[in-house]
Assembly symmetry: C2
Homo-oligomer: 373 residues x 2
Amino acid sequence: MDNQRIGILGSGMVSRTMANDLAKKFNVTVFDINEHNLALAKEKDATITTIKADLSNYNNYSTWLADFDLVITAVPGFMGYKTLEAVINAGKNVADISFFEEDVMMLNDLAKQKQVTVITDIGVAPGMSNLIAGYYSTQMSIENFEFYVGGLPKNPQPPFYYKAPFSPIDVIEEYTRPARFKENGTIVTYPPLSGRRQMEFSPLGTLEAFNTDGLRSLLYTLNIPNMKEQTLRYNGHIELVSQLINAGFLSDKKLSSGITYNQVTCEMLFNNWQYQPNEPDVTIMQVICSNASKKVVYSMYDEFDETNGQSSMSRTTGFTCTAAANLILSNQFQKKGVFPPELLGQNHDCFEFIIDYLSQRNVNWIKEEYALS
Amino acid sequence: MDNQRIGILGSGMVSRTMANDLAKKFNVTVFDINEHNLALAKEKDATITTIKADLSNYNNYSTWLADFDLVITAVPGFMGYKTLEAVINAGKNVADISFFEEDVMMLNDLAKQKQVTVITDIGVAPGMSNLIAGYYSTQMSIENFEFYVGGLPKNPQPPFYYKAPFSPIDVIEEYTRPARFKENGTIVTYPPLSGRRQMEFSPLGTLEAFNTDGLRSLLYTLNIPNMKEQTLRYNGHIELVSQLINAGFLSDKKLSSGITYNQVTCEMLFNNWQYQPNEPDVTIMQVICSNASKKVVYSMYDEFDETNGQSSMSRTTGFTCTAAANLILSNQFQKKGVFPPELLGQNHDCFEFIIDYLSQRNVNWIKEEYALS
């Protein structure tokens, strides 16, 4: 046991998996406004302290967080930026997976001034994709960087062949936002749901890949001329979603009651897409760095952990974040400022530590390397 | 010009086409609560009299209808039975296309007592399908009676490849109601949207046929052992509707606002399925009577009448009804009581009159007869 103290802001599914992981070594406290979520966190490990708190009271952070050596932020995206800012203002090191829309680098000066280490977007995608890009950007001249990722139900059912571990509104947002890629050094924007194609991914078989806007910081940090993200779904899902979009069901148009089409459709999708308790999910991901002479492929496939009742989504996202938390707490990464994962991955020891940390938790990243003629 | 007077109850699209047709020969008055619809009726032919009336005031019918020689009822289905009952009580002959759910034969005694002729369900389907079945039931021993019918947009667009000349709620009702067929003399019930198959129909090409509940009175009147109706749609339509049903979008489940999924979905479909002004529709239908030695096929294909701005739906339905109105007014059909079209069709002169009447209006029923080995 280490006597260092970690505060986790948010007690959702990923937070609880992280708390459970970290509590084996550290003193862990979880904050949330939702008592049910807090109870679930404590249920897994009685050593976890839970505190009911309205995390939008940003002025309280310096009091709440005074005793912690590191803070993990895992709050809903809409409050992610303000939460991170408040944690930095409280002078605490942070590993963040709130995945907010604002430009996190706007907090870089504040983090340096407060002398804290902030690792952001440190999940699976974003997260592992960035780490691998960062690591190989120091090993080879990457011409093409591409990755494919899907969080899917293990047993897909018609008509959607999909379940969402979060609100359908957030999923639909991903389906209706243009995708920014990099081509020949320039940012290029593709329409939502474009680039659809069938691809084989072992062990799931044929999946449908389509363009999504997941490069985030990578668009600006690394000098890789060609980069793209595609999201993976079972066949049939994107076709049906496209038809709903085409039919206007996901538009901002208003019903006579004043509610938007998008709102009622997402509400109708909610139950349909909701995982049942202990319903197994899987995560599949492939990250490829290549140039004319070399191609490196990292592949990961993970399933719901039945023994611990932990979704694959929470394992692949959460353990990447807790690995980073360990790096900060053990002083293996001591730089001050805000660091998206690609900057962390440029440190070889840090990269190897994370891959190893995940592997110890049975999230296995398999590397293949090919010499190209 | 004939000096007989016809009252038309309802001034919807089909009513207006009927008023226009009948006003060339008769004195026509149209009743409706909707002033816009009444204005549209008068716009086409200034000799048409329009009367604003709340047709649910059934006690007023004897006053309103006193001067008419015949009444046509074309009101929304939910008020169809009461409307027809009130017209019979007022002692008037009727041709009816309100297509209500109640059993019309419950009005048979009243009609006989009042000494009036009531021809009901006298549109295209129901209507022409019944007429043909009735006619051939006197010409041959029909073993199998089947018909295929679709009212479709001439220029189908994704994702639904469909437009509805009436509310999506009524269309969805057709997609969610079990289909009653007759097999070996017994009534057999199939699930909604069952029996899907691809079929070729000139000139539209491949359409998808599926079971629908359109036999109505035919289930009880004619002694034909095997009977079925299938509705026709362009490919893609039923697949998407099935997926919506499968996803629960057309269920009675309630949103947090208290509105049902079905209601909001139909409201969202409304604009998507609504015909634009002068957007062309088509009607396609095939009716087959057969036994071991003979097969008779009646086919009809009709399009939107651009010159007169009359939808094909209103032409094929309305002219069948106005033909029947002519039969009553000219005393060619004088029986007293309630008659579904198959009973009218058993009168050869009446059947030939209707086929001829439609043909004069360019709704062409093509007959083919095959000897089977």
